[in-house]
Symmetry: C2
Subunit: 326 residues, 2 copies
């Protein structure tokens, strides 16, 4: 079997996007349903997804377990798995971890770009590591089966999360810092610790994470994956495209500035280029997973390795991560 799974998207969801998932043969997508939302606001986002599931039930459905990826393939649909880019949905209430897991949340970042109640974001000047509440929440996420995602966290917090977590964690969308030195990309020691602990790294197609940004070549992207496989083996790797298709620039501003500042934070952008940069021409949207497949074969991965990176590794990780601790 060759399941195709994308480890992170945050599109401006529409029938068009869902149809493109089907065109691209994408069996499952981890979608972001909260950036800065509190619990009640997150529930409103779940309600909006429930309406999409009702309306487009021939294209998508709510994925909760690894077996839903298989069900997606069998029924010709895409399974949508929920995740948060910030722990704001649990507010200061550890009991909300189980409640939100029941509602389908399967990934939660312990921080976005800033300090959270749990961990430190990659844009902070100081990283004091995992907080008191963070340690408790890691245990609770381990217990119920919610994946710790450190994509936007800084190094010390990430290394401590890997160490503290009894179950493998994920960095759903980031690339190696030595290939593209964005603040969001990950240093080699983090990638090695992640791989050794059985965690997963999803490679990002967001231009600010790419070498050469929008002009990055498919070959350079795939060679970077090959180089990472040299470090941690091909089984720890997946795609987390970070596709933000059809979003207006106001949404990138919400992602970056939420409600935490009255000033504009440009994040990985700048005053001169505040919006979403164009995607590389070889990965416009869900229809272009075939290009990644060709590119990965081209740089020397074998068929099984390519299948692993394009979905089977996430599928295995889903199977070991989403249920209660054994």
């Amino acid at each position: 079997m060759r399941y195709r799974i994308d480890g992170l998207q945050y599109a401006n969801w529409s029938e068009k996007v869902f149809r493109q998932m089907r065109e691209g043969g994408v069996d499952a997508v981890h979608v972001t349903i909260a950036y800065h939302e509190n619990f009640r606001e997150t529930v409103l986002n779940i309600e909006a997804w429930n309406r999409w599931f009702e309306r487009f039930d021939d294209l998508i459905f709510h994925g909760q377990w690894a077996e839903d990826v298989e069900k997606a393939r069998e029924t010709g649909r895409t399974a949508i798995f929920f995740g948060f880019q910030n722990p704001s949905p649990i507010e200061d209430d550890i009991g909300l971890v189980e409640v939100l897991h029941k509602l389908g949340a399967r990934f939660m970042q312990l921080s976005y770009n800033n300090q959270s109640l749990l961990a430190t974001g990659c844009y902070e000047a100081e990283d004091p590591g995992i907080t008191r509440m963070g340690k408790q929440v890691i245990k609770e996420m381990n217990r119920v089966g919610m994946v710790i995602d450190m994509s936007h966290s800084s190094d010390r917090s990430t290394l401590e999360a890997i160490e503290l977590s009894q179950r493998p964690i994920a960095i759903t969308h980031a690339n190696p810092h030595r290939w593209a030195p964005a603040l969001r990309n990950k240093k080699d020691d983090v990638i090695r610790a992640l791989g050794e602990s059985g965690g997963m790294l999803g490679f990002s197609l967001y231009p600010h994470h790419l070498k050469g940004k929008s002009d990055c070549s498919l070959e350079s992207f795939c060679q970077m994956i090959a180089d990472t496989a040299e470090m941690v083996g091909p089984d720890r790797l997946g795609i987390g495209s970070d596709l933000c298709q059809d979003q207006p620039d106001s949404v990138v501003e919400w992602m970056r500035s939420g409600r935490w500042t009255k000033e504009v934070d440009f994040g990985e952008g700048s005053a001169a280029a505040p919006g979403f940069p164009p995607m590389p021409q070889w990965f416009r949207d869900n229809r272009d997973f075939g290009n990644l497949e060709a590119g990965l074969l081209q740089v020397g991965f074998d068929r099984d390795e390519v299948d692993g990176i394009l979905g089977m590794n996430w599928h295995r990780f889903f199977a070991q991560s989403f249920g209660p601790a054994g």
Copy 2:
């Protein structure tokens, strides 16, 4: 098989109560988790239950489906099913029906004693019937598999709910009005319409619903059940004990007055007797289902009918009610 199921309890939950459920051989209980709580407060109550499920996992677990009654029997525990006595947990947001069903809610009263956004309570002077939102929510509850419970609603609203609902509804805890003419008890036309539509009536042991209140005899109670079986057959009947064990009087005050009045509403009590009346001596708590069994056999029910009334009828109803509309 002889499953024992109680169609409604609201005890001051404790290890003692859970152990008494086991002593009484009670396989499943529908418990009230909200009277006047809004959505966020209801979630806090679910969190409290989650802690009990963790702490007493040798005695109880969260029941979601009819098969969980079977699992309860197999594992020697009691399955706890959630319900609301008021629609306050969905606020004015129909999307919360599906969200709360996902969190385990399986019964919701369309009103408590007062007018709600959906229907009219039995203490109102006028009953204009099911509201515009009520009609929408009935459809949504039918779709996801949440049972409409009209225990505290008034007659017209109840008859309209029976008519509007595409799936059988329940009156989880009430008795015939002609036997004990409390405002909360149900007129014959309501009981007949309920039975003819495939709905369930759970008989209440709350003294204010009994003929002679706390002094009601087991024989009178069981004969009342036999008389009701004459009207609608024995398959539509169960127990909904309304057991409010170990609750302080402040809780009965909360049930009745919530936040809707600054005055004291005595509900079924009075200024002279504002608290919980003592239970009849033959049904003190979960340990006394055996007395009901003996009493029902005594008034002439056969073995299968007694098993039906003490649990199998609820089990069948759970199986046809809790999943999505077929």
